[in-house]
């Protein structure tokens, strides 16, 4: 046995790590209160988004009562401008807005992430080309660019997803490329390259596992931005079209109620704010942990 190699100083070296799941659970218990709040928020919203049809008392677009009814027994949060139940629309809005934002973010990550990885590995002209294209796209203000593209290509949901995903992919490209470049210069990457490994292996098995922490944090942040952009576009009339329930357009539709001192129109806005806050808290904690680990070593 390698007596001289064993370092009895550190008792951690000497037994293998406990399983991934146990480790994750322990970490969550140790997390600060804000992070726990974030996790709770995400879980609740996720639950609502998935089970909306089962939870709601009425249907999404069904007119069930008088316009702008007050909060009462029959309609817990009142009705909106057309007589549809607010609570139902809020819960369905979760599903639509959150769902679409999620899909868009995932698509943005696939486009931007893969391009960023390739740019870091290939270097040379591909990197130059991609970076310059991204620079041009990022030079145009995002909201205005989105408005223009949506006007040109129409406002169906697939178009919405593709347009926003492409625009956000530029940011993801930058982040992925930057963190991948850190990995590409290390010896183990060179060893894999010298072995003759193909692009797929290099991206997925060598680089990706090592950049998960910053990417996940970026995912959380991007999700919030996409979410807000969809809400903003819907508020402006170019996002999710009526009668589909969506928090952004709900704010616009019911805005007039503010003049009567009713806070009902703010409810969708509060829903947006809480989700954004929750995700940000979670991302903060995540970033703190992953950068904190680097300091400790």
């Amino acid at each position: 046995m390698t007596a001289q190699d064993a370092t009895p100083l550190d008792p951690q070296i000497g037994r293998p790590r406990s399983t991934r799941l146990q480790g994750v659970f322990r970490e969550i218990l140790k997390a600060p209160i804000t992070a726990k709040f974030g996790i709770l928020v995400i879980l609740v919203y996720g639950f609502v988004a998935i089970f909306a049809p089962v939870l709601t008392p009425y249907a999404e677009t069904e007119i069930v009562g008088p316009q702008f009814d007050v909060w009462g027994e029959q309609f817990i949060l009142g009705t909106d401008g057309l007589g549809r139940d607010m609570l139902t629309r809020l819960l369905f809005g979760a599903r639509n807005t959150v769902g679409i934002a999620f899909i868009t973010t995932v698509l943005a990550f696939v486009i931007g992430g893969l391009t960023g990885l390739f740019a870091a590995i290939y270097s040379g002209w591909f990197d130059q080309l991609a970076s310059r294209v991204v620079d041009v796209l990022m030079a145009i203000p995002q909201l205005i660019f989105a408005l223009m593209l949506l006007t040109i290509f129409g406002t169906s949901i697939p178009t919405l997803i593709i347009v926003i995903a492409t625009l956000d992919a530029t940011r993801i490209f930058r982040v992925t490329r930057a963190v991948s470049l850190n990995v590409v210069v290390l010896d183990y990457f060179e060893a894999a390259r010298l072995r003759g490994e193909r692009m797929f292996w290099l991206c997925i098995r060598e680089i990706l596992p090592n950049i998960m922490a910053p990417l996940m944090a970026e995912f959380g942040l991007r999700f919030c931005f996409v979410f807000l952009m969809i809400a903003a576009l819907s508020f402006l009339g170019l996002g999710i079209q009526p009668p589909t329930a969506d928090w952004g357009s709900m704010v616009r539709e019911n805005a007039v109620l503010i003049t009567y001192g009713d806070i009902t129109p703010i409810l969708p806005a509060i829903a947006i704010a809480i989700l954004t806050l929750g995700v940000n808290f979670l991302v903060d904690w995540f970033l703190h942990k992953s950068s904190g680990l680097k300091d400790g070593h």
């Binding site: 046995m1 390698t2 001289q4 064993a6 790590r17 010896d187 010298l194 400790g296």
Partner: protein
């Protein structure tokens, strides 16, 4: 004013990892008189730097001084607030770190950084500080002392930077300087100059010093007294001469034995034809050529050691052989067949036979892959092994590198020590069943005892599998231990090559002579004798610009 400068009693320091506190220093005593030089020796993790820093009541982030007393010149330090300690640090106690490059701010000139200390502590004004700087630069034998201070850190060499840092430590004429492995990162020839400078300057200013190192031979030149540390405890303490001639503890004796590891049997080439031939290669990055007309060959069953200082082209030669850097002229041959210049053009079999082991085990293994995947990948990639057979072979390889398979196969690299990681790197190279392995400074980042283990392992594997090794190193002791043939490189050209015994016995090329004589010996008088010898013969101590 007593003679006793530093008195540490029963020092206890803890370190934190994953919110658990471990003992790093377990109740140590230390005494130091004015003008005395104390050497602290031990492996990594023994607690030498921690103890040295504790002399000024400083604990690194993640550490805390739990107990004990630290008396500096009669004053108890442990209870003092930061404001008082700040007045001491830099002024009366100075610290010279291992990496001069990391200690200097790259955005400021050297003289600015020098002057900052006495000016901030109100010991001198700016003018006085600058002229003192120039005077000190002259005394540490920096070239062009009046002008060199106005350079930026990246404009001077490593050895010069280290001496500038020593001068900077002296700016307030401290009573105590703590030298933390100041020459470990330097070439042997530069090391001589820096060692001499430190020794002379410490004597001249009658400064007490704590000299920390893992290299016993180096400490033997500098220290009056030596303390050997292990796992935060004192193993042995004695005057230098006593320890050199009559070490008492087994551990101390084992630190000697390392330097005398020799190959058990002389290996001879098993085939006439070389497995790898570097044929008249000239290569470089851009305009400049790093390698110039380099030719050598390596046979199966033999080890060729490529020796040279930083910048000599050793690593570049490795990059040319592996195909990372296509040579401008010349070619690389594998078993007589000319290899495509770039690795991208080589086929799997050609890639398989040339394997590489890297210097830094930390970056050589993917931290997100388990040992099973790291060793298993070459098996599935090159040899198409799957399932049960693959698993068995992985276990076989783990046993070969002397790691218990059940214990290690599921671990991640950060759950292993440095030596263990290096062994896994070796297993990964072996998994491909190559004919030729490049070992790029594989033991340079390891402690002597651990390094010896690695060398023994490599030797055994070579005999068992008839491997050819190209061993790149700057450490001549390693070369003497494991090489069959030696290639000495200087600034991109081969200065001398041949069987080890030929190269290492006179007559030598001038540069080989310089290299050989610069390796510290376990004799306290070695440095003195070397200086006298060189002065007498007018030998330039170094060929680099320092």
């Amino acid at each position: 004013m007593t003679d006793r400068l530093l008195e540490i009693r029963n020092l206890e320091i803890d370190g934190e990892s994953d919110e658990v506190w471990h003992e790093i220093i377990k109740g140590l005593d230390l005494d130091l008189d004015r003008g005395e030089v104390l050497g602290l020796i031990g492996e990594s993790g023994a607690g030498k730097s921690t103890l040295g820093l504790a002399a000024m009541n400083f604990a690194r982030p993640g550490c805390r001084i739990r107990g004990g007393t630290i008396r500096f010149d009669g004053q108890e330090l442990t209870a003092q607030p930061e404001t008082t300690l700040r007045k001491l640090r830099g002024v009366r106690i100075a610290y010279v770190a291992q990496s001069a490059a990391a200690s200097f701010n790259p955005a400021h000139q050297l003289i600015d950084q020098f002057s900052e200390i006495p000016v901030v502590h109100n010991v001198k004004n700016r003018q006085e500080a600058e002229s003192d700087a120039k005077d000190l630069y002259r005394r540490v034998l920096l070239p062009d002392p009046d002008a060199i201070g106005y350079r930026y850190p990246h404009q001077v060499s490593g050895g010069q930077l280290q001496r500038a840092m020593t001068a900077m430590a002296l700016s307030c004429r401290p009573d105590l300087i703590i030298f933390d492995e100041p020459t470990t990162a330097l070439d042997v020839t530069t090391q001589i100059e820096v060692l001499t400078t430190i020794r002379d300057i410490v004597r001249e200013f009658n400064t007490a010093a704590i000299y920390i190192s893992h290299d016993l031979a180096v400490v033997a030149q500098m220290a009056d007294r030596i303390m050997v540390l292990r796992y935060g405890e004192l193993v042995e303490e004695a005057t230098t001469r006593e320890m050199m001639t009559d070490p008492k503890m087994d551990y101390t004796k084992s630190l000697w034995a390392v330097r005398s590891f020799k190959k058990e049997t002389e290996t001879t080439a098993t085939e006439i034809n070389p497995v790898v031939k570097v044929d008249n290669v000239t290569a470089g990055y851009g305009q400049e050529d790093i390698l110039k007309n380099v030719t050598f060959e390596i046979h199966r069953g033999q080890t060729v050691a490529i020796v040279g200082e930083s910048g000599s082209g050793k690593s570049t030669a490795a990059r040319v052989i592996t195909g990372l850097l296509p040579p401008r002229l010349g070619n690389i041959q594998l078993n007589g067949e000319v290899l495509p210049k770039s690795f991208k053009a080589r086929n799997k079999d050609q890639l398989r036979h040339v394997q590489m082991i890297y210097q830094m085990a930390d970056t050589a293994l993917n931290p997100r892959q388990r040992i099973r995947s790291i060793i298993g990948r070459p098996l599935s990639f090159y040899l198409n092994l799957t399932g049960q057979k693959r698993e068995e072979r992985i276990r076989e390889l783990l046993s070969l590198i002397e790691l218990e398979p059940d214990l290690y196969i599921d671990r991640f690299p950060d759950e292993l020590s440095g030596g263990q990681k290096q062994r896994v790197s070796i297993a990964r190279a072996l998994a491909a069943e190559p004919e030729f392995i490049i070992c790029d400074e594989v033991t340079s980042a390891l402690d002597q005892l651990v390094a010896e283990g690695i060398l023994r392992l490599l030797d055994r594997l070579q005999r068992e599998f008839n491997l050819a090794y190209m061993f790149i190193t700057h450490d001549l002791a390693t070369v003497k231990a494991i090489a069959d043939n030696v290639v000495v490189m200087l600034q991109g050209s081969i200065v001398e090559q041949g069987p080890k015994t030929d190269v290492f016995s006179p007559p030598h090329h001038e540069y080989t002579e310089l290299l050989l004589s610069s390796v510290p010996e376990m004799d306290p008088d070695w440095l003195n004798e070397l200086i006298m010898h060189r002065e007498k013969h007018g030998v330039m101590a170094s060929t680099s610009t320092s």
